[in-house]
Amino acid sequence: MIEEGVYARAYARALFGSAVQRGELDGVTQDVLALEKQWQGSPELRRFCQSHLPGSPLSHARNVDQIWGVTFTLSVKFLLRMLAQWDHLRLIPLITQHFQAFVDHAQGCSNVHAYFACAPQQDEIDQVRRLVSDAYGPTMKLTVQVDPTLIAGVRIFINDKRVDASLAGRITRMRYGLSKPMHLEEAAS
């Protein structure tokens, strides 16, 4: 079983470390964003990266040079060659995602995902922004989505913290609480 998430995170960490060490974090960040854009915009590129490449690992690296040429910084170019050699080009979207998370973390920027049960009003979004800002600082990337399975309320993910104020969450907690063994003898006494 290939643990793609684990590999992607390791690649992203290596890329981030290399970028910081070489003092080209801004350039690499821009390259990663461009790479992500290319991935989303080009079905051919996606097909190429997701297919198993024929030939030797060295020829894979050469293919990468031909496709991306000199467009990218050295750190990104080296990463792409490595991905090609190990047949891991399909991990690009995961790597860019993790890389962004590392950059955000380094810049003290919180990743905030707010899920509302129904389309939120602007003041509700502002309230979420204010709450997160008070607890984690003003820099944040906030995404808002609607998830009707929450029934009512809101569920907010801030980095690796989850604030669940939804009705669905409340019901789940109650269900879990009720399924725990009850001390019948205590009750009887």
Binding site: M1, A10, R13, K161, D164, H183
Partner: protein, 507 residues
């Protein structure tokens, strides 16, 4: 359990339970499952999770955070792994794995997390203890000084076990290791020793049979079975001995006495090896991880005899290790031998010769139990080891020579009768005063002239005499008052032996 509950009580109970779990806002640290397989989940997030912390999903699937890596957390799943999918979320609980402890566990069969398996309802205990505890320090301990009678003559005489000792039971498969352990439990009736039998990777049918035996003999009243059977996930098999130890520690720390049997640590090591390999920890010798020694040393170091200031309680551990072809120099056996205070080696050859329990007196030792031995037993069993050693030597020599002098033949006869005396039926523990009597008879050559086919009968006659005859009861009373082998006790015993064994002698 017969509980009368009224409807309003049930509704009050439900309301209370709901109030406890009803929080309008729940704040949790979480991690997302990146991959799951073979009982191990890799999780992204949980950046502040502690080593050995319990984590759980919303559905209540529990896991143990074992590998804290730079990019992910390796979690050993303690429940049904098929309930976890990629993308599920584990949340921190902020606590390490704890299990219920205390009197409520007596007579129960529980799993490695202390959850009941016997259909007798929840374990009603207010006391919980973490499964991973610290071993008592030197200051908190004292020398092993009280005997733990196993009721097995060969053990109590040759490799005595004291309360707080760690004595390894080692041998090939089907040599009677578990029987020895179970006999030790059976013999703890009315001694105040709380027993814990930890079954690791055992067949359910085997454990069911043991449970039935212990129930029939009334031993479940003071026994708890911690079961992580062969079908359980490896993390539960890994946890089970620590769970049993935590339950036994409860009594040790309160001045009580407990006996815990780990059956067996070979399978425990294999479960840990499986987990470690799946967690991608570097393999070492026989693919076991580097901390395999620590796995067992930290478990067995928790066995101790506590000082008087600490209540004088004790935790005696009888770990079991299975060998392959009598090889005690394999990795896990040598590790556990070096940790424990002695070992009882069961030999397949002796077992097949009919010498049961098949204890090899040459290789079996007890490093600290001698100090805890009953004085009369110590005095009687003193020459036994030498006599048996001489017998083994002569027996080997006898194979090459047919002409033996009278003295040698006499020594051989004594050796044979002693070996027979050490034989014992399974699940029939013998009280210490009877053990001393039969051993005294053996070392005084009382059985030498008894034909071999009558030896068992003669021994039984001696036991019956102790129970039923006036002289036997006088001996028992004298032994209870002062268990030391003085002239008076020797005189009483000699009379008793003469009366009961004489009819079985030939000529």
């Amino acid at each position: 359990m017969n509980i009368q509950l009224k409807p309003d009580e049930i509704s009050a109970l439900l309301r209370r339970q709901m109030q406890m779990s009803d929080r309008p806002v729940d704040i949790a640290e979480f991690g997302t499952v990146l991959s799951v397989g073979d009982g191990i989940a890799r999780v992204d997030g949980l950046t502040k999770v502690m080593y050995n912390e319990l984590v759980e999903t919303e559905d209540g699937v529990a896991g143990l955070a074992l590998n804290l890596e730079e990019d992910s957390v390796g979690i050993a799943i303690l429940d049904d792994v098929t309930r976890i999918r990629e993308g599920d979320q584990f949340r921190r609980t902020g606590r390490v794995v704890s299990v219920p402890v205390g009197p409520a566990l007596a007579g129960r069969v529980v799993d490695a997390l202390g959850r009941p398996l016997d259909g007798k309802g929840p374990v009603l205990s207010d006391d919980w203890m973490p499964v991973e505890g610290f071993a008592p320090s030197i200051i908190e301990r004292m020398n092993v000084c009280e005997p733990l009678q196993t009721g097995i003559l060969a053990i109590d005489a040759l490799t005595p076990i004291g309360r707080g000792q760690r004595e390894l039971i080692i041998g090939d498969r089907k040599t009677g290791k578990t029987t020895l352990a179970i006999d030790s439990i059976l013999n703890q009736a009315d001694t105040g020793v709380h027993c814990f039998y930890v079954a690791i990777g055992q067949k359910l049918s085997t454990v069911a049979a043991l449970h039935m035996l212990l129930t029939e003999r009334g031993a479940m009243a003071y026994t708890t079975i911690v079961l992580a059977n062969a079908a359980e996930p490896a993390p539960l098999q890994y946890l089970a001995p620590y769970t049993g130890c935590a339950m036994a520690e409860y009594w040790r720390d309160r001045g009580g006495h407990s006996l815990v049997i780990y059956d067996d640590l070979t399978k425990h090591a294999q479960a840990y090896r499986q987990m470690s390999l799946l967690l991608r920890r570097p393999p070492g010798r026989e693919a076991f991880p580097g901390d395999i020694f620590y796995l067992h040393s930290r478990l067995l170091e928790r066995a101790a005899k506590m000082s008087a200031e600490k209540g004088g309680g004790s935790l005696t551990a009888l770990p079991i290790v299975e060998t392959q072809a009598n090889d005690i120099s394999a990795y896990i056996p040598t590790n556990v031998i070096s940790i424990t205070d002695g070992q009882i080696f069961l030999e397949a050859g002796l077992f097949h010769e009919g010498q049961r329990p098949a204890i090899n007196p040459g290789v079996s030792v007890s490093r600290v139990g001698g100090d805890a031995q009953v004085k009369a037993m110590k005095q009687t069993a003193g020459p036994l080891r030498v006599l048996l050693a001489q017998f083994r030597e002569l027996e080997a020599f006898m194979r090459f020579s047919s002409d033996l002098d009278a003295n040698t033949l006499d020594q051989l006869a004594v050796g044979r009768s002693l070996m027979h005396v050490l034989r014992q039926l399974p699940n029939k523990p013998v009280a210490v005063h009877k053990q001393v009597a039969v051993l005294f008879a053996g070392t005084q050559k009382a059985f030498v002239k008894v034909p071999e086919h009558n030896l068992s009968e003669a021994m039984r006659a001696l036991y019956d005499a102790i129970d039923n005859r006036e002289s036997g009861q006088a001996y028992a009373a004298r032994f209870a008052a002062k268990p030391a082998m003085d002239d008076e006790l020797k005189g009483l015993l000699s009379t008793l032996i003469e009366e009961s064994v004489k009819p079985y002698r030939k000529g």
